[in-house]
Subunit: 393 residues, 2 copies
Amino acid sequence: MFSPKMLKLGKVRSVIREIFEYGRKRAAEIGAENVFDFSLGNPSIPAPPEVNLAIKELLEKENSVALHGYTSAPGDPAVRKAVADSIAKRFGVPVTPDYIYMTAGAAASLCVTLKALTLPGDEVIVFAPFFTEYRVFAESAGAKVKVSMPGEGLQIDVDNFKSLITPSTKAVIVNSPNNPSGVVYREDIIRKVCETLKEKSEEYGKPIFLISDEPYRELVYGGVKVPYLMNYYKDTVVCYSYSKSLSLPGERIGYIAVNPAATNAADLFAAIAGAGRALGYVCAPSLFQRVVAKCVDKTSDINAYAKNRDAIYNGLTALGYQCVKPDGAFYLFVKSPIPNAYEFCEKAKEYELLLVPSDDFGCPGYVRIAYCVSYPQIERSMPAFAKLIENYK
Amino acid sequence: MFSPKMLKLGKVRSVIREIFEYGRKRAAEIGAENVFDFSLGNPSIPAPPEVNLAIKELLEKENSVALHGYTSAPGDPAVRKAVADSIAKRFGVPVTPDYIYMTAGAAASLCVTLKALTLPGDEVIVFAPFFTEYRVFAESAGAKVKVSMPGEGLQIDVDNFKSLITPSTKAVIVNSPNNPSGVVYREDIIRKVCETLKEKSEEYGKPIFLISDEPYRELVYGGVKVPYLMNYYKDTVVCYSYSKSLSLPGERIGYIAVNPAATNAADLFAAIAGAGRALGYVCAPSLFQRVVAKCVDKTSDINAYAKNRDAIYNGLTALGYQCVKPDGAFYLFVKSPIPNAYEFCEKAKEYELLLVPSDDFGCPGYVRIAYCVSYPQIERSMPAFAKLIENYK
């Protein structure tokens, strides 16, 4: 009676949500301080003070009709200019306001871009481990997903990637810093990925698009640099969100930036506008468009996440857990000591540790730990992690 | 290279936007006060003061992480309860929070509902004149649109409607008060539409869903009542937006309400959740979820629109224009004195009157006048309307 695909998507509760709900129930039973919930990627540090100041200033200075009214579909012109100028200044790419499309966050950016780019039967390549919703978004746009398995250090295995490209490959999604691994792809590997894309685009006589999903761009530690993909490959579309950088995940605000040097860039931008219209987006939330323009180069206190990363990475490796040191985002991807990560997560629950098995990320045998929690939670959880690993020694 | 459908949607500029852009250009040339732009349905009266007060209060009382964080996908539980309670109280329908899904406005509500309900080949019936984007949204979900032509007074012609229903009819969209006509469908006609739907659902052994798109519900004049469709037909889904009632069109906030008595209501709600996920909506903007909960029974100053309606309706009919008196929304649908409304609109431009031809609304031979403008604009425009009609006497 209803769309069976939509019914399934709505009914199959995500593993992460299940664990989160369990955590709430458990917290009610034994107290929140005794449950170590590492399941959700929900920022735990507040938005920078500039955000609420910007809101108050806008409420005082702007008239209601202008402030809360429709903007044009791609966004308020001054906001698009602020975003384009920031990109140009930070990354040296001549992006202009004409190629900025403000969106309701990264999920909207991806859905709109995929709907603009893909035709039924087109293929989209993702790199495991990958954000589970990529599959949902790509399939909703009518595309098929192919998964490239990782190499050493959870970096991209370029040979494996190359073997998956076919004449049907329309786009590739790169997510660095990565959810769920926290890995930042190395520049030499990015270069090889882009060379491969150039070669294959030439071979097939049509461009393969690179979609850079980068909500975690600003969350990097220890001076690591995240290559800006437009500088490496012309057919690049950047999907950005302020959810993590400004701790505004609920406000749904981000953008799509099309490289002005991309093949038929103006048509690509028009197709993006068409897809935004077809998916009902109308315009990105108007107040928060203005807010992010005023805070375009601000971030939340990233040091808090850096401190968490060091504490949990050092703590767990000292206890004997195996994982790649994450350079960004707020996730740690830990090898399960047994092949079945679900079973390991069930055992972890006995110690009130709520971890997410990696199977849905396309990379079985790991667990994801979201360390965007309070520092005391990390400290308090260490004895539990110690007891958990004892079971496998 | 890109999706041809999306490219077309993005490139074919809407007639309304074209006129609006022309109006801006003309205003720069001869002064805004000399251009009578009636093209856009953008509220001209501010949000009620409670909106900005609610924002300020939330910024002061709520912590940033909770206020700007993700809500669950269907919305914050307290917000869903406030909306459900308001519906139950105002319309006597036992809607519960479990059947409220907060959305990013009416366009999102419609896209999500249509994606949840329809399978490829399904048909959706709309009543002319109709909001042009219905076709875009329905076709994007994979459905086909059939148009029911209006009867006397631009009301629904029930016989014509009945003749369009087939075993492939999945849903019917009712929009009352109507954009672009301002007409409120009479209760006796709504009853007949619902009886027809019941008969046909029984005949085909499966429900036809009634989608009530009602962003203009609160904008009614002269004590007219808008029937609440859940009270007339069980398989009803209400798509609502606060864009007009609270003058917040840019903030993208609304909801879907599923009648708990609908066939397989829980599955329908699950399919809606799945469709929201597949279209990348994640959650409705979090700050404005809380704002509308605090202002759930407030509206902007509707009297300003009522005053405009009387002025423009009385003014134009006195000049000899023909139109149905609108009971709601902020549109007047005026008969073109010549069959070709495009030509009439071009002639109107000579008097700096910017009107929208009705062809895209599925009902040629009329023009839409959006009277959500300042009262002085209406007064100043009357001599221009007088000169325009002289051409056809």
